[in-house]
């Protein structure tokens, strides 16, 4: 093993990689948050209203 090559270089680059991974992760988390925020909003009544109307229309038609 090459344990006596403390390799500042390598330490740095692995730190940079950690950083990059962390950022990607944070972006991913944010992205989901942004999406979920809308998912968790109350659905406007309009949606169900429209669907209800369409449903009764189609059952009238038989």
């Amino acid at each position: 093993m090459i344990e006596q090559r403390p390799s500042e270089e390598r330490r740095k680059s692995s730190a940079a990689m950690d950083e990059a991974r962390l950022r990607q992760q944070a972006i991913g988390v944010r992205l989901r948050q942004m999406f979920d925020e809308v998912v968790n909003e109350q659905v406007p009544d309009e949606f169900l209203e429209i669907l209800r109307r369409a449903d009764s229309r189609s059952s009238e038609k038989g």
Binding site: V29, R32, V39
Partner: protein, 201 residues
């Protein structure tokens, strides 16, 4: 109502009810996806409603038990492109929408990041943005996203990875470049915050 005609009736009211129940469950997701395409909440809801009705009208062609979420997302996406809704570009940056989001997050640091994410997303090519949204936020597998977008799985993969890289670069340049040391801290606090929010939920 007059006599039923003799042609075989492929669907029963029960089918419609089951379909409807499932469709109703999907409305929040359709709204969220529409919002990422349109930006403007009102235009997004119009789009989501149109897609919902398209799905309802096409219910006979849907096979119960298959992935209705992917199917409705595909309908919504097609609807969006076929109508060439013009709103997305400027409305992605719609200030009002951004501010509404900011209020909801409840962290002095977080609003900036969300706002920047929005702006960053708006700068991506549309096909990269939608791929990233579907896979990164919508919870779709690459295969499903490919089906929704009507392209090859490999194409989706490369779009997602290009989108991630581009977004990373955009966000870096925008905010975090100012102070390299703070970048990690800011991210950690965002992650911690997200962790907190998701445990609350």
């Amino acid at each position: 109502m007059a006599e039923e005609n003799a042609t075989p009736k492929p669907r029963q009211p029960a089918d419609d009810n089951a379909f409807k129940r499932e469709l109703v469950q999907l409305i929040p997701h359709l709204r969220a996806f529409a919002r990422t395409l349109c930006g403007d909440p009102a235009a997004a809801d119009d789009l989501a409603q149109d897609a919902m009705m398209k799905a309802w009208d096409a219910r006979n062609s849907f096979q119960m038990g298959t992935n209705m979420k992917a199917w409705t997302f595909m309908i919504l996406r097609n609807q969006f492109y076929s109508e060439k809704r013009r709103s997305w570009r400027q409305s992605q940056l719609d200030q009002e929408a951004a501010e509404r989001t900011l209020v909801a997050v409840d962290d002095p640091e977080a609003p900036v990041a969300l706002d920047e994410l929005r702006q960053g997303l708006a700068m991506l090519p549309p096909e990269q943005r939608e791929a990233l949204i579907l896979v990164g936020a919508g919870g779709f597998a690459y295969e499903e996203a490919a089906e929704i977008c009507g392209c090859a799985v490999g194409t989706v993969k490369s779009r997602v990875s290009r989108a991630r890289r581009a977004l990373h670069a955009i966000l870096d340049e925008g905010n975090y470049d100012r102070d390299g040391a703070a970048a990690g801290d800011a991210m950690r606090s965002i992650l911690a915050d997200a962790e907190r929010l998701s445990t609350v939920r």
